[in-house]
């Protein structure tokens, strides 16, 4: 697998949020707005890349039966570091994201990736893979969060001032847009993600169909 392939794999083909359906909790819980979702996802990328790299580096010393505790140890330590750092320097965001920062630990993707990939590859490749899986999540959570925020409030990027001081949210719909509240509540998360998954399936199916249609054309040409 080259780096390109890993990237395609992580972002589209094996997208954790839309295909593998792993790491769903932060995806659904924190995607109430674009900013929240993306912030958490970026923290996740950081942990994923680092932990994959570290695990790939130390894996040969670890006996099989304690591999999971050790991996978790590594990840948990990294997460705690992120947690402390955000608490110190992005305090408001830290309060908003709540327990979902420590929960990056369990974020199944992290572990699934570590188990499936990092344990079999060199640190650099593993770190890249971790990062790309995280990017896949960023993409999904950005779309999900953006959609939910837009449908729910008619705005986008609310809370951006917590990350980039001085910037402002966009009011996309008129002020008197009533706001489809369900989109921001838990049901909205499930429903919108359902549509996203279906959309991805549809795009995939269409691409496949095109490929099939163009293949015979090429053959005759």
């Amino acid at each position: 697998m080259n780096y390109r392939e890993i990237a395609y794999n992580g972002v589209w083909k094996q997208n954790t949020s839309l295909v593998q359906l792993l790491g769903l909790c932060p995806l659904l819980a924190v995607s109430t707005s674009f900013v929240n979702g993306v912030s958490l996802a970026i923290a996740t990328i950081f942990v994923m890349a680092l932990s994959s790299g570290v695990v790939a580096g130390v894996r040969s010393f670890i006996p099989h039966e304690i591999r999971i505790p050790v991996f978790i140890l590594i990840i948990a330590a990294l997460v705690t570091i992120v947690d402390l750092a955000m608490n110190a320097w992005l305090h408001e965001l830290y309060l908003v994201l709540g327990i979902f920062i420590p929960l990056i630990v369990v974020n199944c993707i992290v572990l699934a990736r570590v188990e499936a990939f990092a344990a079999k590859n060199t640190p650099l490749v593993a770190a890249w893979d971790g990062a790309m899986m995280g990017v896949g999540m960023v993409v999904a959570i950005a779309v999900l969060g953006g959609l939910r925020e837009f449908i729910g409030t008619g705005m986008l990027f609310s809370g951006i001032e917590m990350v980039i001081p001085g910037s402002h949210a966009l009011q996309l719909l008129p002020e008197d847009y009533p706001g489809f509240l369900v989109a921001i509540l838990p049901p909205g998360a499930f429903l919108v993600l359902g549509f996203l998954i279906a959309g991805r399936n549809w795009l995939d199916a269409r691409a496949e169909q095109r490929a099939r249609l163009s293949a015979p054309a090429q053959a005759t040409a």
Partner: protein, 185 residues
């Protein structure tokens, strides 16, 4: 700082010891899963899955080394069963391993057979009878339709024919549902 190290080290010691001990105490032998997987495979023994026989394929699946969609004779139904058994997502038959065909049996053109026994040796289920240099015949009810005997035959006298339907074994067609117009998506 020191307290932290002490606490974590303590937890680690206890857990490591416990797990090490349990991993030995509760070691499992044998794998009942292989037999269950093998039981769902069609036993055509054709090797199209890329493994020498259904059992080998079953072992590969159990170890996680093979996908569940590699057995053409089992077809979609077979994949579905495997998916159910293993709690995996169904996926269509992988094209590189072949296509699903109706069940076939081999027929030896008895006039052309030279009695070379190559087919007998190829047949995984001893469905071909006939001694060396004698004309060979296929016992149709035993033949699994694996096609393995076809290519070894030096005079190409073996052909595969679909199993004919009989009144006793006839199956009702799946009722045509008018509302299920071909999906376009």
């Amino acid at each position: 700082m020191f307290a932290a190290l002490l606490v974590m080290a303590g937890i680690a010691v206890v857990l490591g010891a416990l797990l090490g001990f349990a991993s030995i105490r509760f070691k499992v032998k044998g794998d009942p899963l292989v037999d269950k997987i093998d039981a769902t495979l069609p036993q055509t023994q054709c090797g199209q899955c890329g493994f020498p026989g259904c059992k080998a394929y079953a072992q590969a699946i159990a170890k996680g080394e093979a996908e569940i969609n590699q057995c053409p004779p089992g077809g979609e139904e077979g994949i579905r069963k495997l998916a159910d058994l293993l709690g995996k997502e169904f996926k269509p038959l992988s094209a590189e391993h072949g296509v699903e065909k109706p069940k076939q049996v081999a027929i030896i053109d008895e006039n052309a057979c030279i009695g070379c026994t190559l087919c007998t040796q190829a047949c995984p289920v001893d469905a071909i009878v006939g001694a060396a240099k004698q004309m060979h015949t296929i016992v149709a009810p035993l033949c699994t339709g694996c096609e393995l005997c076809v290519s070894p035959c030096p005079v190409d006298c073996i052909t595969m024919v679909p199993v004919p339907e009989a009144v006793e074994t006839w199956k009702w067609k799946y009722p045509v549902v008018a509302i299920r117009v071909q999906e376009t998506a």
